[in-house]
């Protein structure tokens, strides 16, 4: 038996401590602003480029980091900088300057990309595009790009970006890398969502035991117990699906079909879990949970926003249907492999 998947307990504790200092929203605003103070701390600790070739950390550690960040609603582009942009830069053999903060996107042939997370706030935008002779990647200084700022429903900067592809110094990159980039992005969002769900569960349990109506704590009502129990169930299932995909990713064996299957399962389970966890967490909290003043929305809104990135829930479900139909009459041996990578 292999050792079960586990992130080092010490690292987990450190991450929890670091992210508990996250600033959160500024009072009265729905906009998320890059928490540069937290970023500086993370950079000092080597957490902003956790999985760079130099550190040897894997997706297992990165998942622990993303979960801790999401649990504390930290406004930092760790997923974009490390798991997407940083990885692309390394893959393409472009010069890596770890102090630079990056995001990444796929642009169309005209150099346009929409909804690019954190583009207004970073130093560089790593752009992927398909040129007539194959896929290319460029590490573009933000000031060389035209940016129209936008925000997603969680208030996070998601900007439209335009780059002059002819002027950008670019390198060729295999199409498989582009496919893997999409899967990495999709999985990163799923990992983050499980972190937020875990905190939603904690807040809901806590609120149910503190808030008194009809002379007793809400937690004494069976209807409330069941709402919270269902948050726990969906969160646990989502986490199991995500962990399986993270394990595939960390094993780095390069079978993208297999990886896609694990990521698709994770995205499907997480996406449907989002429906239940967000609805129930808000139901338990009553009116106060719907206000800007209460923290709950800092956890529920990102989950809804992340669900729309790197493929919608419907698209992931449909992709799975397609895969199992193509697998023929035996979806079991397709899903539960009896061979090791």
């Amino acid at each position: 038996m292999d050792a079960p998947y586990r992130i080092d307990a010490q690292l987990e504790q450190t991450l929890e401590q670091v992210f508990s200092t996250a600033a959160g929203l500024q009072p009265g605003s729905t906009d998320l602003h890059f928490d540069r103070k937290l970023w500086a701390t993370l950079a000092d600790l080597g957490f902003t480029r956790l999985t760079s070739q130099a550190t040897g950390a894997t997706w297992i550690e990165a998942a622990g980091l993303l979960r801790a960040a999401a649990r504390h609603a930290a406004a930092v582009p760790v997923a974009e900088n490390d798991l997407l942009a940083g990885w692309l830069v390394e893959r393409a053999g472009l010069p890596d300057e770890p102090a630079l903060i990056r995001t990444a996107c796929i642009a169309d042939a005209s150099g346009s990309a929409t909804g690019v997370p954190w583009a207004t706030e970073v130093d560089r935008i790593v752009v992927l595009w398909e040129a007539p002779d194959g896929w290319r990647v460029a590490d573009v200084p933000r000031d060389d790009a035209t940016i129209s700022p936008g925000r997603d429903l969680a208030g996070r900067p998601t900007d439209d970006v335009r780059v002059d592809l002819a002027r950008a110094a670019s390198a060729a990159i295999p199409a498989a890398c582009v496919r893997e980039y999409d899967l990495r992005g999709a999985l990163a969002r799923a990992v983050q969502s499980t972190g937020a769900m875990d905190r939603m569960l904690a807040l809901s349990s806590q609120y149910a035991t503190e808030r008194v109506q009809f002379g007793r704590a809400l937690a004494k009502f069976q209807a409330i117990q069941h709402l919270v129990a269902d948050i726990a169930c969906e969160t646990a299932l989502a986490t199991a699906a995500v962990d399986a995909a993270v394990f595939q990713m960390a094993s780095g064996h390069g079978d993208l079909d297999w990886l896609e299957l694990a990521v698709a399962i994770a995205r499907s389970v997480v996406g449907h879990a989002a429906s239940v966890t967000v609805r129930n967490a808000h139901q338990v909290h009553g009116a106060i949970g719907t206000t800007l003043e209460h923290r709950l929305h800092e956890l529920t809104k990102p989950v809804l926003a992340w669900r729309t990135e790197f493929g919608s829930l419907r698209e992931w479900d449909a992709r799975l249907t397609d895969r199992i139909a193509r697998a023929g009459s035996d979806p079991w041996s397709f899903g539960v492999r009896a061979t090791r990578a």
Partner: protein, 384 residues
């Protein structure tokens, strides 16, 4: 750090993968030679003693029972892999299901040496089948309220009362009975209960069939009219009945039978989609994803049990989600297929779906209802 009951990811070893390959080959041969026809809810409905013995011949019954008692000394994970493959194939497992899943492990934990020697070899050989005698007409979820009475007599105990919903009692050799062996103390409702191993052909036992709404007969009501149970068949310790019953719940609740009862329906829907007889429906992918995630969770509970860790919370979660999902698959099929005709390629799916829809109400009841289990989960979260 995480607040939710944390399952840990388990990656199957090469040995476990090899075991899966063996079981798959066996299943292919069985189906090809007409050994069985894949069925819905096979672990409750498909009784085939000859198939059980073919499994035993492979060493796939009583896997976790030590060799000295006729078993195979293998791990819970190995048993997990074998049963999961068989359930996914819809193989007829009902005959040995209870004896293999819980009686074997319980005997190892609580049974006397004499009971182990007498019963375990037969369980591992597929020769001795068990039923469960817990529920009574007035005691369902509130199991501690059972009223079947055990009175101490010379050389043993005398049982009076009745058990209901006893699946397979009419075909089994024994059942394990929870009875009140000391008067009820309202302050300590869980005290004074004991378990007994009762031969189903003992004098004073009457077994009456109860037919389910799909026309199948697996349920029974079993009446005891002063049935004598020798001292040697008291199971575990007198008065420890409640503790013994609840200590087995992780095994009972987290297994793959809690999410695979309708897998053959999903597999048939996938096949019909591949043939072009059904339009591709994202809901199918969604169900597949949930079952794959449940497979991971259930595997991690099996791993925890192998390593002797308690996992009541995770087990309850697997059962709540798994039984709801297997019911949702029946629903998905039921809301997808229409009346159709013989030429639409869906005859097989239609037949399976009918069985699945009529079995579905039982999924979220048997083995502790989902309402009771949500209570267990809420308690674990500190809400009650």
């Amino acid at each position: 750090m995480s607040f939710a009951p944390a399952a840990h990811h388990v990656h199957e070893s090469a040995e476990l993968c090899a075991l899966r390959v063996d079981v798959r080959a066996f299943i292919r041969d069985e189906i090809a030679s007409g050994g069985f026809v894949p069925a819905v809810d096979c672990w409750l409905n498909s009784w085939d003693a000859a198939f059980s013995r073919r499994l035993a011949a492979r060493g796939w019954l009583g896997m976790t029972i030590p060799v000295e008692y006729g078993g195979h000394g293998r791990t819970f994970l190995e048993r997990f892999v074998v049963t999961e493959e068989l359930l996914a194939a819809g193989a007829p497992l009902a005959a040995h299901w209870i004896s293999d899943r819980q009686i074997g492990p319980s005997l190892m934990k609580f049974g006397s040496e004499e009971q182990r020697r007498k019963l375990l070899p037969g369980i591992a050989a597929g020769e001795v089948f068990f039923a469960i005698g817990m529920s009574e007409p007035d005691s369902g979820s509130d199991l501690a309220s059972v009223r079947t009475k055990a009175v101490k007599v010379d050389g043993g105990w005398q049982l009076t009362g009745s058990k209901i919903w006893t699946s397979g009692a009419h075909l089994s050799h024994y059942f394990i009975v929870l009875a009140r062996s000391a008067p009820l103390d309202p302050e300590h409702r869980h005290a004074g209960l004991s378990q007994y191993i009762v031969a189903l052909d003992a004098p004073g036992i009457e077994i009456r069939p109860i037919v389910s709404m799909n026309g199948h007969h697996h349920f029974n009501q079993v009446f005891f009219d002063g049935v004598f149970v020798p001292d040697a068949m008291l199971f575990g310790r007198e008065g420890d009945g409640w503790k013994q019953v609840t200590s087995e719940l992780s095994y009972e609740r987290s297994g793959p039978e809690r999410f695979l009862s309708t897998w053959p329906v999903l597999a048939e829907m996938a096949a019909a989609t591949a043939r072009g007889d059904l339009a591709p429906d994202p809901e199918l992918g969604r169900m597949f994803a949930r079952l794959m995630a449940l497979h991971q969770m259930s595997l991690s509970v099996a791993d925890a049990l192998t390593n002797g860790r308690a996992t009541d919370q995770e087990a309850a979660i697997v059962k709540v989600l798994g039984t709801a999902t297997e019911g949702d698959i029946a629903e998905l099929a039921g809301s997808t297929i229409g009346g159709g005709d013989a030429s639409d390629g869906l005859a097989r799916l239609r037949a399976m779906t009918a069985t699945a829809l009529l079995s579905r109400p039982g999924f979220t009841l048997r083995g502790g209802t989902n309402e009771i289990l949500r209570g267990v989960i809420a308690r674990g979260l500190g809400l009650r």
